[in-house]
Symmetry: C2
Subunit: 296 residues, 2 copies
């Protein structure tokens, strides 16, 4: 590729209206182009931008949505405080090569009279589903709307929100939404902390403690792979978090990687995942890693 | 149009597999053709066929789905007994000019692991929603799936199931399903009985009584338009049904034609509708008619 091709800045637009969004996508479709969607709540970090880059590998045009969705926040949660920085986000997306930022307002997403809910049994229950009532209904409903507004070929979500990805896979399969779901790996700081818009809430002291979360997961995964009993390993990991200054703990569990059913032990037949949600000061952090059994 | 054009029999196919369905629709789309969907539970009568004809007026190709949806029947309802006559239905559709009959089996619609529900507040509540718990969740979920499997330009539903039409309009608007919903008027026998697959359950004696349902609605609508108090008119209509041998009554109500909110009187600002559901012997009959206020 020539230097001039590398420096070519693709057109980039900010769209708030669903009709304009659909016109853009229809024009791309008419030109035979494939379209990717990266749904976000803004406050973008390199985890989001990695999904844009992954989108560019799967499609010709990448739409990023930015919508801080009120229905997935509980009444005591941080909807009002959630970081909002649309100008910075738009600049970062343009640099990353995204083509369109779709940023509707709340009334554009939920007009007067709105009354429909998409809910998912099974994978929505337990874990964050128990600790954030209504959260995954809010996620399933807004993601269904975003997918049907854009009708992309592929939609990309980060594995940091692992349960969310499983819920969305379930909705897309069950409702026959014609889109391929691709999960991007969690992007981490050099010290292992998973990138999250909520990391901005951490004090310097909390930020110094935060990487322990990933280290504890890694040690637990290694112990499980070495054949230690799951109940013992999980209890030790929970104690380690508490000792490091985390708490209270929502959960630290070993689950089937697809159904999220609790696993009493690491079997060899199915992929497993360690998932954690815990408070650090006033900030709720989540993380997860795969735990593969040794080949039999 | 020449005689030979009139007698031309369009190609007609029976499809059970969603991938084949989508291939057919994609080929039509690629040819620039508009597509209509008429969802049915089979046991087709002229009400259904009128929707096929309406579909042909709105689109170049008409898909009819035939699926007796188990999730919209209550445990004490007539799922097992519901009339099934696929061969006759296919023949009637071919004659009516439909192009494709999509008839999946239950496992093709709800594969193992299926866990997602679409539910609608407001218009789903009251009326049949109170008397058939879970019914409109079942309807909203399966219609969402059918619309997303076919992705038609237009989908047609009969006004005989008036509350269902309002529920579907709400789902399509709220979830941003890219389809236009068209409601077709109720088709009636010469004596006024609304066509229904369940009319086949009526004994000859019940069939003779059944047209009273529509007559009572018409008389109530006339009294309302003449300015009589709604409470009185509805009470007289309920008594008339009981005297004719109907009962028990699920409801006979005056409602806002769009939101289905109960109306205490006929206002001049919004369209109103009379809706009834009542047993006749072992058969549950429903019907509804518009009640327009006189111009102010």
């Amino acid at each position: 590729m020539s230097a001039s091709a590398v420096s070519f800045q693709p057109p980039f637009s900010l769209v708030r209206d669903v009709a304009v969004l659909r016109q853009n996508v229809a024009a791309w479709r008419a030109a035979g182009l494939r379209v990717a969607l990266v749904p976000t709540m803004g406050a973008l970090h390199d985890g989001h931008l990695s999904l844009v880059r992954l989108g560019l590998a799967h499609a010709d045009r990448v739409v990023v949505s930015l919508f801080v969705n009120p229905t997935q926040f509980g009444p005591a949660e941080d909807f009002a405080a959630y970081p909002r920085q649309e100008g910075e986000d738009a600049a970062a997306l343009r640099t990353a090569g995204a083509h369109l930022l779709y940023a509707p307002d709340v009334a554009g997403m939920y007009p007067e009279g709105f009354a429909t809910t998409v809910s998912v049994a099974g994978v929505s229950e337990g874990l964050c589903g128990d600790h954030r009532p209504g959260h995954f209904q809010g996620v399933a409903t807004v993601v269904t709307k975003l997918l049907l507004r854009v009708l992309p070929d592929v939609a990309l979500f980060g594995e940091k929100d692992y349960q969310q990805v499983q819920v969305i896979r379930r909705v897309v399969t069950d409702l026959d939404i014609p889109v391929k779901i691709v999960a991007g790996p969690t992007v981490r700081e050099a010290d292992g902390l998973a990138l999250s818009s909520r990391n901005a809430y951490l004090s310097p002291a909390e930020r110094a403690v935060a990487p322990t979360l990933h280290r504890v997961l890694q040690e637990a995964a290694a112990a499980l792979r070495a054949g230690e009993a799951a109940a013992l390993v999980l209890e030790r990991a929970r104690s380690a978090l508490s000792a490091a200054g985390f708490g209270p703990l929502d959960y630290l569990d070993l689950r089937d990687a697809e159904t999220l059913v609790p696993l009493a032990s690491l079997g060899s037949r199915r992929a497993a995942r360690l998932l954690v949600a815990v408070k650090l000061g006033r900030t709720r952090l989540i993380d997860n890693i795969p735990v593969l059994a040794d080949a039999p």
